[in-house]
Symmetry: C2
Subunit: 272 residues, 2 copies
């Protein structure tokens, strides 16, 4: 798994609604999966409230840790508590300024609907100096892209539909270009009838024998109830076939050893 060295990704989530449990953070899961499949190592997730200092802290912490990619979601709209652009500017030590390209994006969106530019709408075109606006094909608030030293920073909106469209139409191509040339492959084994703690030494042994593979066990119900454990097997490699072969070998060993102690085993699809 050490192949993605130098390709750490950090995901920042901005918004009180996530912290107070009003909204479940599906954006982080979606981005985490995308980044992982692109070969990045998602290192940390930080969730902060709608507060300039807290947002600045989140960006600063990821920059200081040397992240290759930082993606934030949330805090880009027209209301008083949309503070991501300001927090990012503070973290970078640059001014927030009206960006002409961003302004024309916002203007066009409202003109299409016969609406005027108001102060709250113009606010969405203010981004940190040196940053580029990311077009929003669905909503009105542009995203923000800035390269800082060697880190690529993307600020996307919190509305999942907008965030996903902007990621797929703009961010993904950049991540492919600057990212590692490796493939991420995964497979799963479901085991029934054996407690997770009995499988633990088997996992240790298989990981020793297949050292490019990472196995994580997920107890699907409690050990006190019926025993159901999913073993999620992952590998990264510059060579897709090699990664697949590693996964296959690990899965074969798991199946052999768990069956050997009386477990009922089922292999799930191996995918890339």
């Amino acid at each position: 798994m050490g192949l993605a060295e130098g390709y750490d990704a950090w995901i920042l989530t901005i918004g009180n609604e996530i912290l107070i449990g009003k909204v479940v953070n599906t954006n982080l899961a979606w981005l985490g999966r995308k980044l992982t499949l692109l070969g990045y190592k998602v290192r940390r997730g930080l969730i902060v409230p709608d507060d300039v200092d807290e947002i600045a802290w989140a960006f600063r912490t990821s920059l200081e840790a040397g992240a290759k990619v930082v993606i934030s979601t949330g805090g880009l709209g027209p209301t008083f508590d949309d503070k991501t652009a300001e927090g990012l500017a503070v973290a970078l030590g640059v001014k927030l300024e009206l960006n002409e390209e961003a302004l024309s994006m916002v203007k066009r969106k409202y003109e299409e609907r016969g609406l005027e530019l108001t102060e709250h709408r113009i606010k969405m075109a203010k981004i940190p100096r040196g940053a580029k606006p990311i077009p929003n094909p669905i909503g009105t608030a542009p995203g923000i892209y800035v390269i800082w030293n060697n880190t690529h920073i993307f600020a996307l909106p919190g509305v999942p539909k907008e965030m996903k469209a902007m990621f797929e139409e703009y961010v993904e191509a950049i991540l492919r270009k600057v990212g590692p040339k490796i493939f991420f492959v995964e497979g799963s084994v479901i085991s029934r009838g054996v407690p997770e703690s009995t499988i633990a030494p088997i996992v240790d042994e298989v990981m020793r024998r297949c050292n490019r593979v990472y196995i994580k066990s997920h107890p699907r119900t409690s050990e006190a109830g019926e025993f159901l454990v999913e073993l999620h097997v992952t590998a990264s490699s510059p060579n897709r076939e090699e990664a697949k072969n590693e996964i296959r070998k690990a899965i074969e060993l798991l199946v052999e050893k768990i069956s050997g102690i009386g477990g009922e085993v089922e292999i799930r699809e191996i995918s890339t």
Copy 2:
């Protein structure tokens, strides 16, 4: 909202599966809601991989920030990558040691099923020196409770059913005792037909006039499509009726002003 001063809560999520997007972080949302209703201010969420140093970083960062409560989920089971106890011990600068009370909890669970204590099972009874084990009524891994200076730290398992049971049967009573004596009240207004950016100055005005109320707008669909915005209104107060009245007043003002500009408004239940 400044009433919960000194009652910051931090939620830590431990596990690669969250970062790679295999599992959506519902634990954080559930805990965030519980903590908010108990009057705590959920300040930050940190998500780290199954790595001792990263886990230690997360605990250390929340302790240094002066959190009143830190709750972690994940990393407490029998496998090699369950490293929360170790990471917490590193953060506190104390040794990990076999806790007799924890050991008897684990032992009892396996004896009930006629299973021996193995090395991987005994591992679950090793907790930082000075910490107390939290009984797990559903699974086998005990949780960990430790008071550090003025911070109450709880480490709970990642399996939602176990985490919730342990929170409700053990953690919640402690949080009530050491927490603020305040009530959290909320209400919602759904607005149709007006863009979020048009509502933004109304939100500003209502928050100026009802200064104990916090209003967050959530665009439910894009501004480019049909306009649907939820305004989530919250207030905290030592007096529940006072908080409710503040919410009612803010909602009345929102309804009046949004209707005044042609919006269609619907009030959702006001709850505590």
